[in-house]
C-alpha cells in the first residue's frame, strides 16, 4: 500500500514537471498493483496540493521582498545624488517655474559675454544643460562626450544655418527622388535602352548585412532556448 501511494505521488509529481525525472520508476514494475482505499488516497492528494500551494506562496513572497529591497536601494541612490535636504526643501517651497527662468537668464548672460545672438537661445540652452549633466560625472546611455573647444558658438551657428538650408531644400515635403527614379524615364524612352543609372546601391549591402546579423542572433537565441 505504501508503495502504491508512493507511485501515485510520483505520477502526480511527473505531471508537475522536472523533479519526476529524478525518481526511478523501475522498482515497482514487477509488483502487482496494491489496493488503496478512496479516503486515504484523497487525503494524500490534499496534503500534496497544500504543499504545492505553500511553496508557490513562499516563492511569491520572496520575490516581493527582493523587489522591495531593490526599490529601497534605488531610492537611497537617488537621495545620494540629490542635493542636501535643506536645499531640497527650500526649492520645494519656492514657486514653480522660477528655477527655469533663472537658468535661462544665466545662460543668456553667458552667451552675451561671448558676443552671441539671441536667435540661438534655445539651442544654446540645450547645450549648457547637457554640460551640467556632464558635470554630474554619471553619463548615461544617450550622451556623448565632446570637447567644449570644438563646440564654439560659431560652429554651432554654422551648423544651425546648414540645417536650415538642408531642411528647406532637402527636408520632408520637398519631393526629392533618387537618381535612379529621376532618370528612369529617360533610360526607358532612349532609342538604346539602358540599365538603371545606379546599378549598385551601396546601402543595400549594409542593410542585408545588418539583417543577416540580426537573424543570426535570433536564431542562436532560439537554439539556446531549445537546448534548455
Amino acid at each position: 500500500m505504501g508503495a502504491m501511494a508512493r507511485r501515485r505521488k510520483a505520477a502526480a509529481a511527473g505531471k508537475r514537471g522536472p523533479p519526476a525525472t529524478l525518481l526511478s520508476p523501475a522498482s515497482s514494475e514487477d509488483e502487482a498493483p496494491e489496493e488503496v482505499s478512496f479516503g486515504v488516497a484523497r487525503e494524500a492528494a490534499e496534503t500534496e496540493r497544500k504543499l504545492v500551494g505553500e511553496a508557490a506562496r513562499r516563492h511569491r513572497e520572496l520575490l516581493k521582498e527582493k523587489r522591495r529591497r531593490r526599490q529601497e536601494l534605488f531610492a537611497e541612490q537617488k537621495r545620494q545624488k540629490l542635493l542636501p535636504e535643506a536645499v531640497l526643501q527650500e526649492l520645494a517651497a519656492a514657486p514653480p517655474g522660477r528655477d527655469d527662468e533663472q537658468a535661462a537668464a544665466m545662460n543668456t548672460g553667458e552667451l552675451c559675454e561671448g558676443g552671441a545672438a539671441k536667435q540661438s537661445k534655445g539651442k544654446a540652452q540645450r547645450l549648457v544643460k547637457k554640460d551640467v549633466q556632464r558635470k554630474g560625472a554619471r553619463s548615461k546611455g544617450n550622451y556623448m562626450a565632446v570637447r567644449l573647444k570644438d563646440q564654439t558658438l560659431e560652429n554651432l551657428h554654422q551648423q544651425l544655418a546648414r540645417d536650415f538650408l538642408s531642411t528647406h531644400l532637402y527636408g520632408p515635403g520637398t519631393n526629392r527622388v533618387g537618381a535612379n527614379e529621376f532618370f528612369s524615364l529617360e533610360n526607358k524612352k532612349n532609342p538604346v535602352r539602358k540599365a538603371a543609372v545606379q546599378f549598385v546601391d551601396k546601402s543595400w549591402g549594409q542593410e542585408k548585412k545588418l539583417k543577416a546579423a540580426r537573424f543570426k542572433q535570433r536564431w542562436l537565441a532560439t537554439q539556446i532556448k531549445k537546448q534548455v
Binding site: G115, A117, K118, Q119, S120, E154, H157, Q158, L160, A161, R162, F164, H168, L169, Y170, G173, T174, N175, R176, V177, G178, A179, N180, E181, F182, F183, L185, V197, Q198
Partner: protein, 686 residues
Amino acid sequence: MGEFEVHRVRFFGLVPAGVRCLAWQPRSARLALARTDGTVEIYNFAANYFQEKVIPGHDARSVEALCWAGADRLFGAGLGGAVTEYDLARLGTSCSVDGGGGPIWSMAANGSGTRLVIGCEDGSIKLFQVVPGGIQFERNLDRRKGRILCLSWHPSDSHIAAGSIDILRVLDVCSGQTVQRIMVNYHVQKVQRECVVWSVVFLASSTIVTSDSFGRVQFWDWQQGTLVESHTVSTSSALSLAVSEKEDSIIVGTSTGATYQLQLLPVRVGSLEKRWVRTKPFQHHTHDVRAVVHSGTALISGGLDAQLVIRSLMEKVQKKGYEAALRKFTFPHRRLVSCARKARLLLFQFTQHLELWRLGSTDKTGKDGEVLPLRSMPEHLVQLKSKGPEHIYCSCVSPCGSWIAYSTASRFHLYRLQYEGDSISIAKVPKVPKLLLPAYQLQFAADSGSLFVASAQGAVHILQLLEPGGCKHLHTLRPPSETPEAIYLLAVSADGHWVAAVGGDWAIHVYSLKCFKHHCTVPTYSCAVTALAIHPVTNNLVIAYADQQLFEFSIPEQQYTAWSRMVQNCGLHRLWLERDTHITHITFNPKNPSHILLHDVYMFCVLDKSLPLPDNSALLLNQSTLKQLPETARQRQLHAFKICKKFQPLLFADLLDENCLVVVERPVMDIKTQLPLPVQQKKFGT
C-alpha cells in the same frame, strides 16, 4: 589618322561641385562663380568664355554670396561669418573681415561700388564701406528677428530690401530704420509651412520683386505695402532672381532646374500700360538652379548639377550665328590629370586628395575598333590625402613615376615613390625649400631631374631633385618687366633647354635653362592661352588660344614659323573656330614630328602639318567618309585635321608611346548619379 592602342580610362571619379552663386561684372565682361565647396572661378566672356582664374576653396570658407565692388574688386561672404576680398592676381584671399553677426547669408554692393551690405543669421543687416585695401564697418541697420536670406539695393542707393522668413523689409539707408514691413503670406489663408523669401530684387520704380519657397514670383509696391502681381512659376521653390539693367526682363531659377523669363510687355499693341508676363521657360538643368544672372544679351544660370549655362537672348543679338549659341560648361578648363608616360601611371587631382593609378595592360592585338581583353587590371596604387582645410591648387607626377608634387594655398609637398615588385613605398621629401606659395602649376622636366614651380608675380622656381629623395632650390626665373599676375601654365622642352610660362596677363615668356635667362617674349595676342607645349624635336612652341586659334612659334629663331603664318593667312576651318570648349592639352608624337595631338572636351585631334589645311567648303570631320573611300580618292580628300569624337567627355588625352594613347573620360551620367537629390518631376503619361 594613324592607329593607336587606346587606354580608355573611366575611373577618374571627379564630381564637380554645384554652382552656388554668380556675380556679373558688365564693364570687363567677367563672370565670377562660386561653387558649394568654396571654389571661386572667373569666366572671361570676351575671351570666348574661358575660365581664366580659379581660386581653390577652403573647408572653413563656404561662399553664399559674391559681389563685385567697383571695377575689379571681388568680395565673397559665407556661413563662416566673414567677408572676404579675393586677390585676383595672386588667386587667393587678400583680406577677411569678420561680419560679427554669425553666418552670412547674403551680400550686395551698391551701384557705385562704395558700400557693401551683409545680411546675417542673427537678423542683423550691416553696412560696410569699401576702402582701399579692404572694407570697414560703417553701421548696423535696424535689427529684427529672423535670418536675412537676401538683400538688394535700390538703384539710387537710398533703400535696401531684405528678405527673411515670411517677411520682406525695406530699410532706409540714411536713418537705418525699417520703413516698410511686408508679410509675404498675409493674404494667404491657412498656411501650413513657413515661406522663405529666397531672393529679392529692388526695381527703380517703387516695385520689389521676390521669389519664395512656394514657387512664386511676386511684385510688391513697397510704399503701399501691397501685392501688385503674383506669378506662380513652379510647384517647388523659386530660388534665384535676376533683373536686366533696363528692368524689362527678369530671370527666375527654380528647384526643379527650370528657369523662366518674365518680361515687361504692353498689354495691347501700342498701349502704354505694361504688365509682367511669363514668356520663356528653359530646362537646361536637372538640379536646383541656385544662381542666375541677367547680362545685357544673355541669361546665365548655374545649378547644383555643376553646370554653368549661358543662353543668349535672340532678340538682343545683332546677327544670329555662332555667338548666340547655347553654352554649357560642366568641366574645368584646365587639366586635373597628369601622366607618367614611362611608368604608365595617371595622377588624378581631387579637391582634397590625389589618386595614383597604374594603367592596365594587354598582350593581345586586334583590328580597328576592337575591345582588347586586359591581362592586368588597372590598379589604384596610392591615395594621398591633403591635411588641413585647404584645397589643392595643382599637382603633378614625374614622367618616371617616382615623384609626386602638389601644392595647397600655404603648403607645398613633394613625395618620393619607390616601387619594389608589387609593393610601393612613399616617403615625403623633408625640408622642401621655402618658396613663394601657392604654386599655380607644377611641371617635371622630361628626365625627372628637376621640377618647375609656377608662382606669383610671374616667377618660375626651379627645384633640383636629388636622389634618394631630396631637393634644393636651383634658380628663380623672373620676367623682364614686373607683373602682379601669377603664372598659370608651364611648358618644358624635352631636351631641358627651354621653359615657357604664361601668366594672368597672357604674356608668354620663354626662358633659357642653359644660362637661366629670359630668352624672348612671344608677340602678344590679346586672348587667353588655354594650352601650350614645346615640340621635342624642333623646339617649336605650339600655343592654343581661347578663341580657338593655333600658333606655332619657333623658340630658337624667336619668330612664328612658316606653317603658323600660313595658317593665319588661310584661316582655320569655320567649324574648328566654332567649337565651344577649349583645348586643354597639347602633346606630340616623337616618331612623327609633323603631328600635333590636341584635345578639348568633345574631340581628340591629330593635326598633321604636312597635309593641306581644309577650306570652309571641305568637310572638317571627314574620318568616317575617308574610311569608305578607295585609296586614290582618299589621298585627294586628306586634310590636316584628323578628328576623333569617339571619346566624350574627354578630360585628358596623352600619348604613352608612338602607338599607345591614354584617354580619360568622365561620363556625365556618372556625375549626375552622385549629385545631391533632384526634385521629382511628374512626366505626362508615366
